[in-house]
């Protein structure tokens, strides 16, 4: 790169905590791309930086909160959603996004996800799915495809994996999308749509994990996984969600904005019931 091409600032700098860069993520990791897509969604949002809140759990993706220039909370393993529930209920004016990984949200935090979906509080849940526990060295988790090799499935994964869009849609989550970091614009627009949806919005982000899942399953470089996505990704907003499980073994990997059916949110129901009982806010 010649000196005149060097610029002092990146367009997304104001939305990131640039003083904390370089980040902790490995070369070829996809989380940075998800952060960029989220940052663009914040910039596109009618709400300012001071009205956004991001809550993360634990793990590689859990570190995302620390790089985004809004009030940001890096909480306990699996508990980002209930923590965010407290924030949102205590101050409904805030735009609250949960930004965490598949292990955090769907293994240790799985119960919280299904109840948050049932409750339909106005949260956006962004899940970076890299198919394993990255930070602890690549153990299998709830989204690891059956047969896949990880540091704790040396004979292949015996367990079935969650199909996250099907799970979310089955729970009535009003907005459900799945994109990959190979689809940054669509991903960012899906995050915006999830933020704007009354009630809960869920966006799954397919991402490489080169030194762990990738190394053990034939994608040692980030680009190897992106090449797989390029070959196998199919965009189908109207897909039958029963058929969008991910095997990473040659079946089409279906992406899309699968569901957008706004429904009355928890806070709207609460306001309606309290008003019906003549109970208003006091001091």
């Amino acid at each position: 790169m010649s000196p005149e091409q060097v610029v002092e600032h990146h367009p997304t700098d104001p939305t990131l905590r640039d003083e904390r860069i370089p980040h902790i993520w490995c070369p070829g990791c996809g989380i940075g791309g998800a952060v960029k897509a989220f940052a663009e969604a914040i910039e596109r949002s009618p709400k300012g930086l001071d009205e956004h809140v991001v809550v993360s759990g634990i793990g590689c993706t859990g570190r995302s909160a620390g790089y985004i220039n809004v009030d940001s909370y890096h909480t306990t393993h699996g508990r980002a959603i209930p923590y965010a529930t407290g924030v949102k209920v205590a101050n409904p004016d805030l735009e609250v996004t949960v930004f965490s990984g598949d292990g955090d949200l769907f293994n240790i935090g799985g119960n919280h996800f299904i109840h948050a979906a049932r409750r339909n509080l106005d949260l956006t849940v962004l899940c970076v799915n890299n198919f394993n526990y990255g930070m602890t060295g690549g153990q299998f988790g709830a989204t690891t495809p059956q047969e896949a090799t990880t540091s704790t499935t040396p004979f292949g994964n015996f367990e079935r994996s969650f199909n996250l869009p099907l799970l979310a849609a089955s729970l009535g989550v009003p907005h459900v999308s799945r994109w990959s970091i190979l689809h940054p614009r669509r991903l960012s627009r899906a995050i915006s749509a999830a933020m704007e949806t009354d009630g809960m919005g869920f966006v799954e982000v397919i991402s490489p994990c080169p030194p762990n899942y990738g190394k053990r399953n034939g994608y040692p470089d980030g680009l190897d996984f992106l090449a797989y996505l390029e070959d196998h990704a199919v965009i189908d907003d109207g897909a039958d969600l029963d058929q969008v499980g991910i095997d990473l073994a040659g079946e089409p990997l279906v992406l899309g904005d699968f569901r957008h059916e706004p429904s009355e949110s928890y806070l709207e129901v609460k306001a309606r019931h309290l008003a019906a009982h003549g109970v208003g806010g006091g001091a």
């Binding site: 905590r17 904390r20 930086l49 001071d50 009205e51 809140v53 809550v55 909160a65 620390g66 220039n69 809004v70 009030d71 940001s72 909370y73 890096h74 909480t75 306990t76 699996g78 508990r79 959603i81 209930p82 923590y83 965010a84 529930t85 407290g86 924030v87 949102k88 209920v89 205590a90 101050n91 004016d93 805030l94 119960n111 919280h112 109840h115 309290l274 109970v279 806010g281 006091g282 001091a283």
Partner: protein, 383 residues
Amino acid sequence: MAAAANGPLLTGEHFMKGDTASAEGAIAAGCRFFAGYPITPASEIAERMSARLPHVGGDYIQMEDELASMAAVVGASNAGAKAMTATSGPGVSLMTENLGLAAITETPCVIVNVMRGGPSTGMPTLPAQGDVMQARYGSHGDYPIVAYAPDGPQEMFDLTVAAFDTAERYRTPVFVLADQTVGHMTGRVEIPESVEVADRPRPEGEPDPDTFLQFDGEHLVPPMAVAGDGYRVHVTGLTHDDRGYPDIEPPAQRRMLGRLMAKLHDNRDDIVDVERFRLDDADVAVLAYGSTGRAARQAVRDLRDEGVSAGLLRVRTLWPFPAAEVEALSEDVDAIVVAEMNLGQYAHRVREHADCPVVGHTNAGGEIPRPAAIADTVREVAS
């Protein structure tokens, strides 16, 4: 329920259950967020809060478990609400995870533990005081904690108010360690027109995210910004610097944890609260807390009637430990009998500080010690 649940403010004299009085104390203290999960013998607190909070502009939410309840409490407090939960031992076991988060992120919050018999599911409907050490050390790592021990409905009100005052004043989680007897006891509760409760220190002036330090070590208790204030704080359960950014090095740990512990240690004299009953000329002191304090008081009265010089040190703040008070007491008496509904948890700590023999009057939980039984132990010690 004798006391009405409707009006925005409840004052005056009431015939009220201890659990209900705790809820009213919280509301009087400005609590406007409650997240919880049903559990015997604390469910009445959640029920009261679900009926009362909407009348005062507050929020009640029932979560899917105690892990989530405590996470929501810490989140709500970081969004600016005075926040609490109420549970019993099995629930506290799950809440200790996010209790640690509250401690390291210096988040004010109150946990009411209406203790029942343990371990595990134990004796859900019967009293015990087996969670005294859990309250102090239940979460991993070193951290500061405060625990109040009310002895009846009036103190369920008063000490819940005190718990909020302490939590907010020092930006720290605080326990109200009640027990089933106290929680389900109904009695006279006098609620004043208003109560004095500190609000957490808050930053002043125009928010400047570039210079604001959410964990500013120049203050013993740093001003706390909440979500939406404009300071763009970062709050993490990792060891962090004054800005709130992760710094996982021993010097950062020493600096952070040193101040966390100093917040309570340096203010111990303002926090510690004990009641001295007929101790001035006592030869043997009974040390008791919570509902056991009631039986101990009767034992002291009965002993005095028969000429035995007994007195009572009733500890209202189990943590921080009233070390100076116990040390001074042990200079004046021949022995201390620690009466508690567990197998000797607090007696250990009393022995560390007492310069006289310390005898435990314990039981395995499920039954309040009878005054006559405590008196028997005192007579044995005195003879």
